[in-house]
Symmetry: C2
Amino acid sequence: MTTDEVKLAFDKLGGLLPAVAQDAVSGRVLMLAYMNEEAFRLTLATGEAHYFSRSRQSLWRKGGTSGHVQKVKAVYLDCDADAVLLKVEQVGGAACHTGYESCFYRRWTGGGWETEGTPVFDPEEVYTRG
Amino acid sequence: MTTDEVKLAFDKLGGLLPAVAQDAVSGRVLMLAYMNEEAFRLTLATGEAHYFSRSRQSLWRKGGTSGHVQKVKAVYLDCDADAVLLKVEQVGGAACHTGYESCFYRRWTGGGWETEGTPVFDPEEVYTRG
């Protein structure tokens, strides 16, 4: 085991790195989002996943609205230092804004995409609360 | 369960979608790479993972050089149709060109990145073969 100094390759995607969140217990891949340097730094500093929203062009604390934060159990970096993997505890049991546990809830059937499973929560209820 | 017509959002990253490969049995996240439309189409058509190499700017049949192909067991699409998850059987037992099972072999320790595990193969041997 060695500890290396590594420069993360934020430059490859205009300041962003793709980040995969995986449930630390079940191993299910929950979502893929992007981090800028600030989001990455805040993720390490707070132990909660932060991303950069490309649609809103702003820092995004995952669960800030829904309460469904991701408690970070481990952070991994890939061989090219241009992608990150988070092992997380997903509060609320669902990562997706649609209410599904995983954002990857559609599976290719050969002729189209089939939705697997059922939502854990009702988005209309979660996102209008308070 | 419903089958939907979905248009994949290749436009968000200049013609590319990020694709996560996960071991279908162990659940380990193996790598993150990118697909253009041709790579995606070939992945579905052949049942073997194809990507688009950003460094070489060309189609990349995973394992074409090393023999370490990825047999695709399932393909998932995320909520925004801008990321793909492949569940694969990783031939050769390692996805990473460095010889590690997963490209995500470095873990954040709080003060730096620590390499976890040991390589499954010797890259110098694999990539000079033939």
